[in-house]
Symmetry: C2
Amino acid sequence: MSDVVSLNHGSGGSQMRNLIENIFAGKFGMSKPLTDSALLENEGYTMAFSTDSYVVDPLFFPGGNIGKLALCGTVNDLAVSGAIPLWISASFIIEEGFPLEDLERIADTMASEAIKAGVKIVTGDTKVVSKGKCDKLFITTAGVGIVKSGFEHISKGSMIKPGDKLIINGSLGNHAIAVLGARNNLGFSSKIESDCASLNHIIQNFFGECSEIHFMRDLTRGGLAAVLNEVAEMTSLGISVQEESIPVDEPVKGLCEMLGFNPLSLANEGKFLLISSGDESFKILDILRSHPLGKNAAIIGEITDEHEGYVVLKTATGGKRILEMPSGIDLPRIC
Amino acid sequence: MSDVVSLNHGSGGSQMRNLIENIFAGKFGMSKPLTDSALLENEGYTMAFSTDSYVVDPLFFPGGNIGKLALCGTVNDLAVSGAIPLWISASFIIEEGFPLEDLERIADTMASEAIKAGVKIVTGDTKVVSKGKCDKLFITTAGVGIVKSGFEHISKGSMIKPGDKLIINGSLGNHAIAVLGARNNLGFSSKIESDCASLNHIIQNFFGECSEIHFMRDLTRGGLAAVLNEVAEMTSLGISVQEESIPVDEPVKGLCEMLGFNPLSLANEGKFLLISSGDESFKILDILRSHPLGKNAAIIGEITDEHEGYVVLKTATGGKRILEMPSGIDLPRIC
């Protein structure tokens, strides 16, 4: 069935990119490369504008809930575009019969995360649909921020070049495993918590300190594998990654082996990839590690002028394999 | 059951206001009066930022579809705040199995309405949920605009005073009746089309021409009755409306009588209330009537210093009655 929308179209992989590029971006005349935030020139400076819908199932999971995701997710889309996030909108689609107590808990979480991130939720909307017409609660947030001068190119990656280093701020896969565990239908329980967090403060630590950051992107649906493949395609350069340098927490690693998941294609909600010059990479690593959200930061690989357009994973034993763009349904409704 | 969300909470009436004020606005620290757009001071000028989710059932109806609603609705929220709408985000929650052809039609409509309105759809998101977990398609748009200098007070109504005139740009109720008719389950078919349209151009005709506009608001869920009651409460002034001066198309009037609806509390998607000084009201009427979306514009009443906080409807026969804030479910999923 190629003429209907399938779960694959929402998975963050290649089918989703095709849907977005062929239908939405094409018809709406969006400029490429498609980024998480639109950058808008206005009165002599650059604004960032971003939106995401959240349909996570279940609504509450270790380390967060749908409200925390919705707040942090949009803050992060702005932050990795080099913007200081300022204003957030929040729109709620609620199923008839949803407990007001749960709605209050979720709104409380959003309010406290907004304070932590230093943003304001300034506008919103509420729609209610009959029982059975949506699954409990969906939240859509949008956000506006001001791009830090000198960081306008960050989301487009236009300055990425061979020799640049790949840096991530910590361990991968915790969000996806936390949500799966909370579904209670996968035969395991774990104490793994989602990494869901607002990244704007850790990113703002670079402002005024670093001038050779060439790219940032948060590692949500499709995980590191999706973002690296997008970078390889966007730049037509090669990417080489040292598998053993990628931090993955032991419990996550164990569950991934058991369940057949690749932690590199699992969703995160508090992790981002940064690409910088080699010269500046150690300074960046120090800045990241000095922040609680970056204490496991690591340099995981580099941009190359070999195997253009491909991401090559080098294993500890000296093997090499191509890390492909995730396709198919890894994990529906993970965010 | 007062401890769960009910359809009443989404109807645009008093229950919805309570939900929004008590849960969202309170927890998020939003400033009152709550308006359709947040106004944000930035670098010496004022931005407007607004969002709405669209869950209309059915997705296609005479005069429009969910995509047209989603585009025009957010454009209108910005426009009635005195802003020139510039950028729109669009986020899609899609049910597995939704026809790609329908998605393309809806995206085409959004694209062409964006061109008509002179706005750009610059960013978006796509989520897919399993069959049965949402009803076909929900769209959430957000929008950013720049408020025209001198119009910063428009959405708050802070300059409304006794003697001011109430003006609407045309007939009421067409959107709601068009959607009801398209549901095919109400025992009637009609040729009534939704009035769904972007109002920014007709509103921009006031810029540079009018200086005594004191308030604007689009007449969506809850219709004219909801907006007038909000104004009465917000200003602690009285409102007096001449019932026979309110334009309602004959077919709409007939169906409302048959079905027991009050056209004054039905949703519109291309109508707005404007409040101006008496002196400027005739000039405003001329400007409205010179535009295709305002040819049935009418002065329908005035602000008074009597019956403070109440909206009084004067009938053709000299009777008077209070026009109350709509409560309960008039029409779920009308937008």
